[in-house]
Symmetry: C2
Subunit: 382 residues, 2 copies
């Protein structure tokens, strides 16, 4: 296995892009990454996407986008792991380059969600759950997370407002990210008064859907002279698909397993992580992710927020560009956005939300309710 580095990044704003199609969004991010590297193609394209067959009637998305961006002839493939599709595509591209099979991989995460009305998107998202045992019961994705959050509050004695810091931090950070979907700071009062979606999850616990695409270009590290962003750790693990099948639905065992491996590969421990782009699809997931990754004891993840440790100047800065909550959650693209944002931090490009002296960053992308979890650790080599 040879070391792999991120040569360049690209992204679109997360938004309701009514005037742009799936391929136009993907192309925008891909062209940005290619242009930043002064290239016009890569050996292969790895596309992360979840909903295109259901929402855009388009399969074979690897070749579809490769064709659109003029990478004719190149190897191309689509990887799907629900909301973890982006990081899964990144990992596939990474493995292909590290194996020596190819010399460059363009990874594009893309999702176009606003071509269908709200109800259809909810039904489409429910295909990430267990169709036979969860979907069949009419449990939506937010419904599953609500059950987990309710249980967490009960077990560990937290109240709903205790989760507010996660959303407040995400919204505050997004104010300084031009590519974020939401530019609107929020308060505890607003958090508590937001419309209920599925109790106890209200509108400000939940990340918004959106259209968007993000891209990175991967090459062998030896090809970059001087400073570079190394992929220091990459691991994937899974849990049961259905939440009810788990021994402990309040513990993200796949996060624990994947982060453990990634820490080992990178030779680091939680205290070495300068910035952590976690998967805050719902506020409860922030708490569970922090716990599984060793930043807090079981049931104490919310405490990090309450103690002011998660903002860019805190001990464990998370969602520094807005997270899923405020940058937005174009599902299959999210994992690549997270990696792009960690790169921006390691390059010191984040302005008011820059984590000072950030050298090691982590991104964790989750498919389903904790079912598929991928963890990546990036390291700035100066």
């Amino acid at each position: 296995m040879r070391p792999v580095a991120i040569l360049s990044i690209g992204q679109t704003k997360v938004d309701e892009h009514w005037e742009k199609s799936l391929k136009e969004l993907a192309g925008e991010a891909a062209f940005a990454a290619l242009a930043a590297a002064g290239r016009d193609r890569a050996d292969a394209l790895f596309v992360g996407n979840m909903l295109s067959p259901l929402i855009s009637g388009q399969n074979q998305l690897g070749t579809f986008i490769s064709d659109w961006i003029g990478m004719w002839g190149a190897e191309a493939v689509k990887i799907e792991a629900a909301c973890g599709s982006g990081a899964a595509a990144f990992r596939a591209g990474l493995t292909a380059v590290s194996s020596g099979e190819i010399e460059s991989a363009l990874v594009v995460g893309v999702e176009k969600m606003t071509d269908k009305a709200g109800h259809d998107v909810t039904a489409a998202l429910a295909t990430a759950a267990d169709a036979d045992n969860e979907g069949e019961q009419g449990v939506s994705f937010v419904g599953l997370n609500a059950l987990v959050m309710r249980r967490y509050m009960h077990e560990f004695g937290w109240k709903h407002a205790d989760f507010a810091p996660f959303s407040i931090n995400a919204h505050a950070n997004a104010m300084h990210n031009p590519n974020a979907r939401l530019h609107q700071a929020i308060t505890v009062e607003q958090f508590e008064k937001a419309s209920m979606v599925a109790s106890p999850i209200n509108l400000l616990d939940a990340s918004p859907i959106g259209d968007g695409a993000a891209a990175v270009l991967l090459v062998p590290a030896e090809r970059i002279a001087g400073p570079k962003i190394l992929v220091a750790g990459s691991a994937a693990a899974t849990d049961t698909l259905a939440v009810h099948s788990r021994r402990d639905p309040l513990f993200l065992s796949a996060a624990y397993a994947s982060v453990k491996k990634a820490y080992e590969q990178a030779g680091v421990s939680p205290e070495d992580i300068d910035v952590f782009e976690l998967h805050d699809a719902f506020s409860i997931m922030s708490a569970l992710s922090l716990e599984a990754c060793g930043f807090a004891e079981r049931g104490q993840g919310v405490r990090l927020g309450l103690e002011g440790q998660i903002n860019p100047k805190g001990r464990v800065p998370v969602c520094t560009r807005g997270g899923l909550k405020a940058r937005g959650h174009p599902v299959g693209a999210t994992g690549v956005y997270q990696i792009v944002e960690v790169v921006q931090q390691l390059r010191g490009e984040c302005g008011p939300t820059q984590v000072e002296g950030a050298r090691i960053g982590m991104a964790q992308n989750i498919g389903g309710s904790g079912a598929t979890i991928l963890t990546h650790i990036l390291r700035a080599v100066v």
Copy 2:
């Protein structure tokens, strides 16, 4: 890159499995491959599937199946490249093992097509074409292939009956494959009289859909002492998604590009290939594939059939287990079936359709109308 070998195989019969769900089919093939290797799990699962989101309402199929077969915790992902999904999943698993990232990869291709009525499947399959420019015009998949076949007949002066040997050979070989969907030998007369689907493609030019799953277990070659089946070549290439965008719609440029690379990797040329499992989704594709891979001159692929060269005793044995035409075409599973069948040939397990002394076999899997093409070359090491 370290060499990778196929440790074991598994498959279900291709059929209308009304009584079996997607995961049960996948499990049957996966358990067969694991049991044959005396193992109960692999480090990672790579699932090839195209239609599950549309037909079964199930995404996140990697984790879904990993969970079902008890591979809790393992890395799992789904790869989609339309009808090329199976080989794309195989290549992803191969790359992961060759990179050193994992020590074993279970690859499962699975498709469940009979849960929906005929029209829905046709619409679902059309998502492999260009939704904006082909699907929008109502061109079905068979319609696209019919246009290509008509043009080929016009350009090179062949009549419809000249394609008969492809289907006759496939049906004859399937008689000896218990896992084939169709066990029914056919004649030229039957071929010519079959019901028209989309002129000039009739029912006996077209492969039948079906439910099925196939699996292989990949490990580093060094782990197997003694005889083994090596993956000697693996390459993927793409063409434009829409057939009308191609400079020459009668040349499979992605087949040419991928087979060229695979030949180089394996250090072989067409005359070294003892058996070739090609992608005969429609009879025209057999001709185009043989031409692009160097077995026949442009426009002369059909001649190989007419001269009796494609049966198991001929110069270029194809579809020795029935091919897509008679083994059946459970789209996302097909690429893995092809590899399983090449393994059976290299092991000498094919009874009356055994290619004598087969040592080097090739499988070529195609997504869309020639858009995504993957070629694999396997070699028996004794």
